[in-house]
């Protein structure tokens, strides 16, 4: 019997062109992202906010062989960051439809308030990112890795195979663009 492939192995297979490896990888990362997040809330921690980036990083530590190469680590974080965007956007959408009373979302969902930023939620961010994607996919991706993955410039550079200086330059414009897009006038 062959043992189940590890996250590390799957990640390597995927990077070397095996698309199916990502299909196998996804449920592993996705499931664990949720599990880790839930445990975070259960444990006694006084922080009021939960950093998505902390979750992604912890998922890395928990799921992945620590001997992983830097490149692999960066790719893992990138996959997890993109997944985190989908998990949170899906949830945000469901919450919005609940607000509108369409009633399709499960009743356990509850409203969350972000009083200081009444006009911005994850769904807004997601829509803005989609718009950016249509003209400049890479910058949109860099924003996702930066905000949803909490990745450093070096990690982003490694994952996208560009230089850290390019990440820095791209991110400056991308952030300006996003800020302009989210501005509430």
């Amino acid at each position: 019997m062959t043992p189940a492939p590890t996250v590390t192995t799957l990640l390597r297979q995927w990077r070397s062109g095996d698309a199916e490896a990502l299909d196998q990888l996804t449920p592993m990362i996705y499931g664990d992202l949720r599990r880790i997040a839930a445990r975070h809330l259960r444990s006694e921690r006084p922080e009021h906010t939960l950093q998505a980036t902390a979750l992604v990083n912890e998922a890395f530590v928990q799921l992945v062989d620590a001997e992983m190469q830097i490149e692999d680590r960066a790719h893992f974080l990138a996959v997890a960051a993109r997944m985190m965007r989908h998990i949170l956007t899906d949830y945000g959408r469901a919450r919005r439809s609940l607000k509108r009373g369409s009633g399709v979302a499960p009743v356990t969902l509850e409203e969350d308030r972000v009083p200081n930023f009444p006009s911005t939620d994850v769904v807004d961010i997601d829509e803005a990112l989609q718009a950016l994607s249509s003209v400049d996919e890479r910058k949109a991706d860099i924003l996702v890795l930066h905000y949803f993955g909490g990745m450093t410039y070096d990690e982003i550079a490694e994952a996208l195979n560009i230089s850290a200086a390019t990440v820095d330059r791209n991110l400056r414009l991308a952030k300006a663009w996003l800020a302009n897009e989210l501005k509430d006038d």
């Binding site: 921690r45 009021h48 620590a66 001997e67 200081n116 300006a176 302009n180 897009e181």
Partner: protein, 898 residues
């Protein structure tokens, strides 16, 4: 897209990108003018780019809030039990959801139910019912004092009471913000900006102190920064309120001073002594330490209460600047990339680099922080405002008031209290810190190994504790004494914990190596490798790393074939891991090239290996600068052996350049490369430069590495050779004898290095015309080499050549010929036909032949040597000239006789 944007297509977007990037390079004032010109009348484009340039800088916080809020809400649903209070009423407030929980109970987000005005509040709900009416009354009074605190940076306490069920609750201002440390990192605040926010917090704490309220639990998670950048302290005085209401304590302390977060506890809290305003000062010191350096003053995660109490009450915090330096030094010399990323993240979150951040912290800020963190409350800043004042003085570049603990004070204190020998010698403190930091960083991400690291640190600490300062000679315990104590305790105490035992043996083995003590180093590393083989099996990277450590020591002990075998199998393990080449592979290749070169193996393979190593380090970038320098120096030595002096000098200068740029002039590598350069200059015949360089190298080596270091011996040998060549025989003999004695002490009397020193001494004795002494010295050298090498080594050829020359001088040419023929065979095996060393041996052989009258055989050999050495002034050339002269003299006599 919304109305703010313009019609966009990829071409237009790429135009926007160029304009934006270009404009960002300019001063704010110049941007508009630039865009005016660059947009060539396209007003829409110009306005759009200007919008982008002006776009909000608080974006990070906005996005982080949105993501965090959704994350909290989304994942909270997986835990419905936490929300059973939803919709319940507490006083006039309706609970919306749970936003936190901790030792003091649950925290809920709630809203006034009467809708008089829309207001969200945070409600802390205790866990126990109150029965005693006196307590209820006292609580109400104290609550009133807290409610009177009115400061823009303190979250207000609005109200409080007890629920229908008799459980006490507090109603507080709800702050929607993020933790101060996260906030600072997210915005990449500089040291000065961080100090600014910190001073704001100090002013709030000082305000409370003036109103006779102590916070008691200041920590990053109790300070939130709002989207407007305003820091707010939460939970002022709450610890005491909740405590006096009879809450459970976590058992760490006695009555009186209770609620605290272990990681933030102060010595007086641990000891159950009275809590004063100085307690808050200490907590602020911990906060500032972490905010500025990125590391916690004390790593106490997972410690048992007694270990923890000991650390908090006895162990002084390492200066933040030193801490950063140690973390960085370990990370950039170690093999663990996650450690490097941790350091990198810490400094890039502060918008700077390691060197600059270290420089910012060194001095004033180190002193200020350690002053706040003193163990005795009465020796800390006398008030929080005094702390804030010192920071102001520092920011205005004026002398601060706080003083570092004097050496005398620290020593006195430690002896008085029988607190360990940890601080009795600065070098030992630094070494302990290095072990602890190295191990904790190395294993930071792996829970099991993290526990191991902690036990290892604890163990090391115990070793230091066990040294009684009273019994030490003077006030100083040497590192060697402590290491020896440690090594024997590892064997006796840790037999059942192989993974800890092997980690410790490895650590101490490497320390011995760096001290140049190769015998104990080899013993410990050998044992560590055996244990690791049992734990991990043959093909594990941990084992490969242990093999590399051991091989490095074995090379120094001239056990080349064993070293080579270890390195070959380790390399195979690394290669099997797949993926792009790592720093480990590069290091392994470097070691392999070394052993092939020094051990007299395949030089071509040595060259291929080291070339690959350099290529990998170059690709891995500046963080491996030092290791790249080392590899270049290795290649330089190989090329020197192969006779390519120009390339050698170039590589050596490159290596020196790299070292100076990344580590400065006082790095040990400087001593090594200076020595190499001196040897090179000597080889090129530039004796004046060589003498200068080597004199400098000897002085630097004595200063940087001490009087007993291996390198000192090597440099002395080279210096001695230069003395010899410039005719200063007395000095030459003096330094060569010092070198021989030193090598015998550090490496053992049967080490090839001792033999090599004897060759140069033999040459000197030959030129001093003490032939009997020279013969004895060279024969001793030969027997050392024959025992050390299992094949013919070039050192053997060197000894044979000189011995042959001595025998020639003594008129024993027939004996000499046999030895010199063997020497020439060895030379020709490794070197090109016309290499200088081959020519030198050939000279002596030809001399032996002509002394015996075999002129036909001698003549072509002498001609060849003469040709080879014609451009190379030096002792070899002089000897060739002399041999040629003798040939003509003898052959002329023989012609005349015929």
């Amino acid at each position: 897209m919304n109305s703010k944007t313009i019609e966009m297509n990829p071409e237009r977007w790429s135009r926007v990108e160029d304009l934006f990037d270009e404009a960002m390079q300019l001063q704010t004032g110049e941007r508009e003018e630039y865009l005016e010109k660059a947009c060539r009348g396209d007003g829409e484009l110009r306005a759009y780019v200007l919008d982008l340039l002006a776009a909000s800088s608080s974006l990070d916080a906005t996005v982080a809030h949105a993501i965090s809020a959704t994350a909290s809400a989304a994942f909270a649903n997986e835990e419905p039990a936490d929300n059973e209070m939803r919709g319940e009423m507490i006083g006039p407030y309706r609970v919306e959801r749970l936003i936190g929980s901790g030792g003091m109970g649950m925290v809920y987000l709630a809203e006034r139910a009467d809708q008089q005005f829309e207001q969200q509040v945070a409600i802390k709900l205790g866990r126990h019912r109150l029965v005693d009416p006196d307590t209820v009354l006292r609580l109400r009074n104290e609550r009133q004092i807290l409610a009177n605190l009115d400061h823009p940076n303190i979250a207000r306490l609005f109200d409080g009471g007890t629920t229908d069920k008799g459980v006490p609750y507090l109603v507080m201002e709800y702050i929607d913000g993020i933790r101060i440390d996260t906030y600072c990192d997210l915005h990449r605040l500089s040291t000065v900006e961080r100090l600014g926010i910190f001073q704001t917090i100090c002013s709030a704490v000082h305000y409370a102190h003036q109103n006779l309220v102590i916070h008691r639990d200041i920590k990053a998670s109790n300070i939130l920064v709002t989207a407007d950048g305003v820091p707010k302290l939460l939970d002022f005085g709450i610890a005491k309120l909740i405590d006096s209401a009879g809450e459970q304590t976590d058992g760490l302390t006695r009555d009186g001073a209770v609620i605290m977060t272990p990681a933030n506890a102060t010595p007086e809290q641990v000891l159950g002594e009275p809590v004063t305003t100085a307690t808050d000062t200490y907590a602020l010191g911990l906060l500032l330490y972490a905010l500025l350096s990125g590391y916690r003053a004390f790593e106490t995660d997972g410690m048992s209460p007694s270990q923890f109490a000991r650390v908090v009450c006895q162990q002084d915090a390492v200066k933040p600047s030193l801490r950063l330096q140690l973390e960085h030094r370990y990370a950039s010399h170690g093999s663990d990339d996650s450690a490097l990323q941790t350091v990198d993240a810490a400094v890039s979150d502060r918008g700077t680099n390691v060197t600059r951040l270290q420089r910012q912290l060194r001095g004033d800020l180190d002193t200020i922080i350690l002053n706040a963190l003193r163990k005795e409350p009465e020796r800390r800043y006398r008030s929080v405002s005094a702390l804030a004042d010192d920071i102001s003085l520092h920011l205005r570049s004026m002398p601060i008031v706080a003083r570092s603990d004097s050496w005398r004070y620290r020593a006195g204190k430690f002896t008085r209290r029988h607190y360990a020998a940890v601080a009795t010698a600065v070098s030992i403190v630094a070494m302990l810190a290095t072990f602890t930091v190295a191990l904790s960083v190395q294993n930071r991400n792996i829970a099991k190994e993290r526990d191991t690291a902690r036990e290892v640190s604890q163990f090391l600490e115990d070793i230091f504790m066990a040294q009684d300062p009273a019994q030490a000679k003077g006030a100083k315990i040497t590192a060697e004494e402590i290491l020896a104590a440690g090594a024997s305790r590892i064997k006796s105490d840790l037999g059942e914990r192989p993974e800890i035992q092997s980690t410790l043996m490895g650590t101490i083995g490497r320390v011995y190596y760096s001290l140049g003590e190769f015998q104990p180093s080899a013993e410990l590393l050998q044992q560590a490798l055996q244990l690791q083989l049992q734990t991990y099996g043959e093909n594990h990277p941990v084992v490969a790393a242990a093999k590399n450590d051991l091989a490095a020591t074995l090379i120094r002990r001239a056990e080349y074939s064993q070293a080579q075998e270890l390195l070959e199998t380790a390399l195979e393990t690394y290669r099997q891991q797949g993926g792009p080449a790592t720093a480990e592979i590069a290091k392994n290749l470097n070691n392999l090239a070394n052993v092939l070169h020094i051990g007299g193996g395949d030089l071509d393979r040595a060259q291929t290996s080291i070339a690959e190593s350099i290529e990998i380090y170059t690709r891995l970038g500046e963080r491996y600068a030092m290791r790249r320098a080392v590899a270049k120096a290795t290649l330089a030595r190989i090329l020197q052996t192969q006779g390519d002096l120009r390339a050698t000098e170039e590589l050596l200068l490159e290596a020196i350049d790299i070292v100076v740029k990344s580590e400065g002039e006082n790095h040990p590598s400087m001593a090594y490369y200076l020595q190499n350069l001196g040897v090179l200059q000597r080889t090129k015949g530039d004796l004046r430069s060589a003498k200068e360089t080597l004199d400098k190298a000897v002085v630097a080596t004595r200063r940087i590495l001490g009087e007993k270091h291996d390198l000192l011996a090597a440099t002395l040998v080279d210096q001695g050779v230069v003395f010899h060549l410039t005719g200063d025989f007395d000095n030459a003999e003096r330094v060569m004898r010092e070198a021989q004695a030193l090598y015998t002490e550090t490496r053992g009397g049967d080490h090839p290095a001792v033999g090599y020193t004897m060759i140069v001494l033999g040459m000197l004795q030959h030129d001093m015309a003490t032939l009997g002494a020279a013969e004895q010295t060279l024969r001793d050298a030969l027997s050392i080499f024959e025992a050390a090498f299992d094949h013919d080594h070039q050192y053997t050829a060197s000894a044979l050549t000189e011995l042959g020359a001595v025998l020639n001088s003594a008129g024993r040419a027939e004996e000499a010929q046999v030895l010199l023929q063997r020497a020439l065979e060895i030379r020709e095996k490794d070197y090109p036909e016309d290499h200088e060393l081959v020519a030198a041996t050939r000279t002596e052989l030809a001399d032996a032949l002509s002394r015996q009258g075999f002129f036909d055989a001698a003549e072509p050999m002498l001609a060849r040597s003469f040709d080879t050495l014609r451009e190379k002034p030096g002792r070899r050339q002089r000897r060739a000239n002399r041999a040629l002269a003798r040939f003509y003299e003898l052959s002329g006599q023989s012609d005349a006789n015929e």
